[in-house]
């Protein structure tokens, strides 16, 4: 599970749609190179929840993200920033671990890199 995915996941249970971000507790992390595409990162930045991203990055050991993003981002000026965002969002995989809802403490396991957001019969 990439941090890009974590930045979008929330608890699907009724009444908990605002339970975001999910607490990330990784137990196994791998890194895989992905081709750098600045256009994607620039398009994604307005949609990201940056606080959630810095939180998730800290749980996987990435510390070089700035605390705030500049208002205007351009591919030429902020190359270093975009590359570090690319690395954080796309190149780090949480293979095993769990996601915990901050409101209900319901755990969603991550196995083989795929988070399981399925609800039980009684929670639907």
């Amino acid at each position: 599970m990439r941090l890009l995915t974590h930045n979008m996941l929330c608890n699907p249970m009724k009444g908990f749609e605002n339970a975001f971000p999910l607490k990330l507790i990784p137990t196994k992390i791998t890194k895989e190179e992905v081709k750098y595409n600045p256009a994607f990162i620039v398009n994604m930045i307005p949609k990201l929840d940056y606080k959630a991203l810095t939180y998730a990055a800290s749980t996987v050991g990435v510390k070089d993200l700035p605390s705030e993003l500049p208002l205007q981002i351009s591919a030429e000026q902020h190359d270093v920033l975009l590359r570090s965002l690319h690395h954080t969002l796309l190149e780090i995989h949480v293979e095993e671990g769990k996601l915990v809802c901050p409101k209900s403490n319901r755990e969603f396991p991550i196995k083989q890199g795929i988070p399981n957001m399925r609800l039980n019969e009684d929670e639907v």
């Binding site: 929330c10 975001f20 256009a39 398009n43 949609k47 083989q112 399981n116 399925r118």
Partner: protein, 287 residues
């Protein structure tokens, strides 16, 4: 006699290997049995490795992307609903598009990983609602997936489930987001139920049917958008469009004021403005 013995042995072996959970009744489509029962490990592998299935799914994905009618560049973020074994996602990855795939079957997603898909996979039941926060996806596609949500035996429940799903889809799409779902409706009633559910959730759109003359070959694509044509224009184009509309309105208002007065005939006299289809040149052409 030897041939009969061989045939009997082969049949026994085949029956022994046929997993009990996937016995398909004669002529029944998979969605008539429930997705959880149908896509176990055996069926998932069969699905992902059949070359006919791969071609059909790939073609339908390409058609769905075409019907989205928005530019799908490498900067877009797409949601693949019911991504299964990743056959549709691979078409997206080939174009360098980032996508998130959600599916209920762990076996199907296992197949996707074995194929090495580049997308971001999530296990989830779309009937519970999509587990994504608001306004993150530029578009969504779903190939051969929606029919699982429509249960003929319990139409009220299906309708509610569909509305719940479409509402969650609407919230996680951007304002200019669009969605196209290829699926197999069991009847025209089901097709209408799905359309009505989408409309109740706030979508606009309808169903496009390809090859509708032959029932077996026909493919249904539910095309959804969240606004008028203006909503998926870029801001600069939208501004221009607004200005044009305002200018047209002003001309109309001015024309109303001048009603009764003779219309100025500047065009035919001004050589620059005269087109080759103006009345004078037309007359010459006809004679």
């Amino acid at each position: 006699a030897l041939a009969a013995v061989l045939a009997a042995v082969t049949m026994c072996v085949c029956l022994a290997n046929w997993p009990a959970a996937t016995v398909v009744g004669k002529g029944r489509r998979p969605e008539q049995q429930g997705v959880r029962i149908f896509y176990d490990e055996f069926q998932a592998k069969k699905y992902a490795t059949s070359s006919r299935m791969i071609k059909v799914q790939t073609d339908m994905t390409k058609r769905a992307m075409e019907l989205l009618e928005i530019p799908l560049g490498t900067e877009t973020m797409i949601l693949d609903v019911g991504s299964g074994s990743g056959l549709s996602g691979e078409v997206l990855s080939e174009k360098g598009i980032q996508w998130v795939g959600i599916d209920i079957s762990e076996s199907m997603l296992d197949q996707a990983q074995k194929r090495g898909v580049k997308g971001n996979l999530v296990i989830g039941d779309i009937a519970d609602g999509l587990p994504f926060r608001g306004r993150v996806f530029d578009a969504a596609i779903g190939i051969s997936c929606l029919q699982w949500l429509a249960d003929e035996d319990n139409r009220d429940h299906s309708f509610k489930t569909l509305i719940h799903f479409f509402k969650s889809l609407r919230s996680c799409l951007t304002e200019t987001g669009r969605a196209v779902f290829q699926y197999y409706p069991k009847s025209p009633n089901e097709s209408k139920m799905v359309e009505d559910a989408a409309k109740k959730a706030g979508f606009k759109g309808g169903t496009m049917v390809d090859d509708g003359e032959v029932k077996k070959l026909s493919k249904h694509y539910l095309c959804l958008s969240l606004g008028t044509k203006q909503s998926f224009m870029r801001e600069s184009d939208a501004q221009q469009w607004k200005e044009k509309r305002a200018a047209k309105k002003e001309r109309k208002m001015n024309a109303q004021k001048d009603r009764g007065k003779k219309r100025p005939r500047g065009h035919a006299l001004d050589p620059e403005k005269r087109s080759k289809y103006s009345r004078r040149s037309r007359r010459r052409f006809l004679t």
